[in-house]
Symmetry: C3
Subunit: 145 residues, 3 copies
């Protein structure tokens, strides 16, 4: 069973490491700008880093949920590759947002695009499973004829 | 194996789509009220939509975690049905909160109720598994006698 | 299959209950200090409880993701034990932060330490799986020679 999920698990752990990196950036920014918890407001430079972390944290469970459905119901390798692409675009988003609000836009659009592909891939995989499970219809075999 | 999780996977993807809808509402509200990131304060109309999204994001991983434990250890179909009920009540919560703070209350109580049922169902399923796994005691068979 | 995940599932449900407890503390604090949603600012006593909940919510999906990879790819019992340790340290963190900002520090360092051990355990388990899956190399057997 583990060979059907090992790539998904590896990308998940990599995603956790990326989140850890973002959390550390907020801690460093808190020190640099002298903003102690529970405070969360400060100069725009701080608030951009803070919001970049919060946004990435909000998307993390969504990303993991899609990664695993796409990998289990469509194709593990493709899902893992899309996962790596997502993590890379999240890194670009964080670095862009830290520099300026407008530099977050291109990578956030890209990362959202990757998530929509994961949604489509999951939905296709699930649709295929539902059809063959409940109606006995094997779409892939039909297409191959 | 997939036939034991396909309903859970489908409800999970549906939950992701709902989260995407909430994120879009915040983006539209930012444009309408002219509040650019990293800003998160503004008129109550904006803050209600923003908080509704944040609250839904915080509950999303909790919901998914319960959905899967309830589905794996108790009954997939029941867990998926409760999952759909939760997603529907979250939608009502978002729409209610957008209209006024007090209109969020009824659906949030309802959605919390559904989560507690998922907790109870997960706990019962786990209890049953632990009893039969470690003591060989099959509670369901005992009840049937 | 369920006997390979039942301890992980039980710790996950316990983690959800802890999150529920934190959410309730915020609701009680809102009443005590008279801070109605969507407001999130108030006296430091309120903001500390609020931030403790937000921080715990952000770490919850990360914790669950690591718990399951560590349990699936290394050892379920060890992962579950580390999971219980993490949930306990999160409780201490919440109680400490509620008392004062500085009292959150010791338990947050401890809980982060537990998470890093879960990262290490997951990475080791995955490394071992990748090596034996792709190269046929069984590290554990090599060590035993």
């Amino acid at each position: 069973m583990l060979d059907q999920i090992h790539l998904l698990a590896a990308v998940t752990v990599l995603g956790v490491l990326e989140q850890a990196y973002f959390f550390l950036q907020v801690i460093y920014a808190r020190r640099r700008f002298g903003i102690s918890p529970p405070n969360i407001s400060g100069p725009p430079e701080f608030e951009r880093i803070f919001r970049a972390q919060v946004n990435s944290s909000e998307y993390f469970p969504i990303f993991v949920a899609l990664l695993w459905q796409a990998g289990l119901f469509f194709h593990q390798g493709l899902a893992a590759a899309l996962g790596l692409l997502y993590l890379y675009s999240r890194y670009c988003y964080f670095m862009g947002y830290r520099a300026s609000s407008s530099e977050r836009l291109a990578p956030i659009y890209f990362s959202t695009g990757v998530l929509w592909i994961l949604v489509a891939v999951s939905a296709l995989g699930l649709l295929h499973f539902f059809l063959s499970h409940y109606t006995g219809l094997n779409v892939l075999r039909l297409l191959a004829v």
